[in-house]
Amino acid sequence: MTVGSQSLIVRLLRHPSGLVGLLLIALAVGMALGAGFFFPAGPWTMAGPPRLWPGQNAAFLLGTDSLGRDLAAGLFHGSRVSLAVGASAAVVSILIGTVVGSLSGYYGGWLDDVLMRLTDAMQTIPSFLSAIAIVGIVGPSLPTIIFAIAIVSWPMIARLVRAEFLRLRTYDFVQSCRIIGMSDMRIIFTQILPNCLAPIIVASSVLVATAIIVEASLSFLGLGDPNAMSWGTILGNGRAALRTAWYMTAIPATALVLTVLALNLVGDALNDVLNPRLKERS
């Protein structure tokens, strides 16, 4: 891939769904960065009267929850948790998935068999079930949650990378690297992996989106980090007051859906930009 990262972003901005997606993501990132500035008291402070509807009080634009905590503060600080967990879990699962996929695809044989059965097994246990089992057993904390999400999502990347390796390892340029005596690791890292980047990048946006949903789901069930106010936490708290104060659920739900939507839009755009072959077909 000869495309520099800068021109990739420019090309994404020229793509309609890429533009909308990137703008929404920029908004979420802005919220995460600005959380401490706009809401220095943090999301847990009982700042005002409980159950204020949005717009009822100018000091609390998005209203307050059952304990009088500012929902806007929760939303801003929650974006930190969502984005951080989403991004870190995606990075970890890409690392695991790439290692497993490369070894499997490059060496083949018994190693491939073993790793692929392991991947099968990981995909067989319903992933959200394993996630709550891991978090429940090891104890809810952000690192555990990130680890749990990464553990259940790497198989997808592993399969992807393996398929690319199987395709690429037969190519002449790889064969000639072997002939001139390049080491396996060098071939993997300098020759084949750079050619798998496009599909990995496309998959990563979906990976981040999924990780954000899983984190929100865990927090919604009360399995989130008790010290981190996440969108899922607000959703879970709001559920009890659904009949009387549905805005408590609607606000974090909207943030969650828009963020995931944005990541999917960017994923679609990346797919179009990085795979011209596919674009031509559609």
Partner: protein
């Protein structure tokens, strides 16, 4: 054929073995063991706890315990669930059907609806109908099932008061036969719909792409050249081929739905496997958790096996070597 089936079977057994070993060690990471959980519910002396540990084999080295666990699994003995004061197998057998109903109806409904939308979209590619379906797909694709579930409850139960909010059937209902079935359908409609939406979007998107691809192929042109009615060209010639990638998707969906059932069963108060797993995690009922992980994985393996056979039936090109 038998050789292929044998190879697939041996792979499935290997996968289940890895699932068993993996889940066993996961559970072993938990602080405290079964006896601690039992002791938490009653006054037990250290001596009594020690003798219980001997009885359950918990004083043995971990690998021996694994071996004992696996040999008991072969006899379908999942041990005892302190939480339910009953054997794990009995608990699971009571809860399994609820999840099975949820998952099976979700697969069937989402596949049907998604495919239909995908085909409509593909046939109208580029016009407003396609655009609106595509936008709907994009939104459904981005909305997690538990958010959909809450929206449904809010709209249909809270605002309209039309749907029961929770449970498998009306509590204390005396209804039988059709009336009972209708009661259950009303209770399960929202949970099933909530589980479906994400997959409606997935099938819709794959279906659209796959249909567009197939419609360009030569044999579709041959079918048209034969003077067949357009309906037959689309639904007999194109659709059957376009369905193949969707069938592959169904295998992955089943596993994801069993996981998603945790949230949905919790929200709608349904006594299924997902809810059971969640309770088992909260109450540290490790035997029950292992049992649920095993049975749900086994169901996924079996379903995938069936789907593989189905795929071969649908696509004669897959040779059974």
């Amino acid at each position: 054929m038998p050789r292929y089936v044998l190879r697939r079977l041996s792979q499935a057994v290997l996968v289940m073995l890895l699932v068993v070993i993996g889940s066993f060690f996961l559970v072993k990471m938990a602080p405290g063991d079964l006896v601690d959980v039992l002791a938490g519910n009653s006054d037990m002396t250290a001596d009594q706890m020690a003798s219980l540990r001997v009885r359950y084999g918990l004083d043995q080295p971990v690998l021996v315990q694994l071996f004992i666990y696996m040999s008991r699994l072969v006899m379908l003995d999942f041990g005892y669930s302190p939480l339910n004061a009953a054997p794990v197998l009995d608990v699971i057998m009571g809860r399994w059907p609820v999840t099975a109903i949820l998952v099976v109806s979700s697969v069937v409904i989402s596949m049907t609806v998604g495919t239909v939308l995908g085909v409509i979209s593909a046939r109208n590619a580029g016009n407003p109908i396609d655009l609106s379906i595509s936008i709907l797909m994009l939104v459904l694709y981005a909305t997690p099932s538990f958010v959909i579930a809450i929206c449904f409850i809010l709209f249909f139960s809270v605002f309209l008061g039309a749907m029961p909010i929770a449970g498998f059937a009306t509590v204390g209902t005396q209804a039988t036969g059709f009336a009972y079935a209708w009661d259950v359908v009303k209770h399960l409609a929202m949970p099933v719909a909530a589980l479906c939406t994400f997959y409606v979007a997935i099938y819709g998107r794959i279906g659209r792409a796959s249909m567009l691809e197939v419609l360009k192929l030569d044999y579709v042109r041959t079918a048209r050249a034969k003077g067949l009615p357009e309906r037959r060209v689309i639904y007999v010639h194109a659709l059957r081929n376009a369905l193949l990638p969707l069938v592959t998707m169904a295998g992955l969906q089943v596993s994801a739905l069993v996981g998603g059932a945790v949230l949905i069963e919790t929200i709608f108060g349904l006594p299924g496997m997902g809810r059971t797993a969640f309770d088992a995690v909260f109450e540290r009922d490790t035997n029950l958790l292992l049992g649920v992980l095993f049975i749900s994985s086994l169901s996924v393996v079996v379903v995938n096996f069936v789907i593989d056979l189905l795929y071969m039936a649908l696509d004669p090109r897959v040779e059974l070597a």
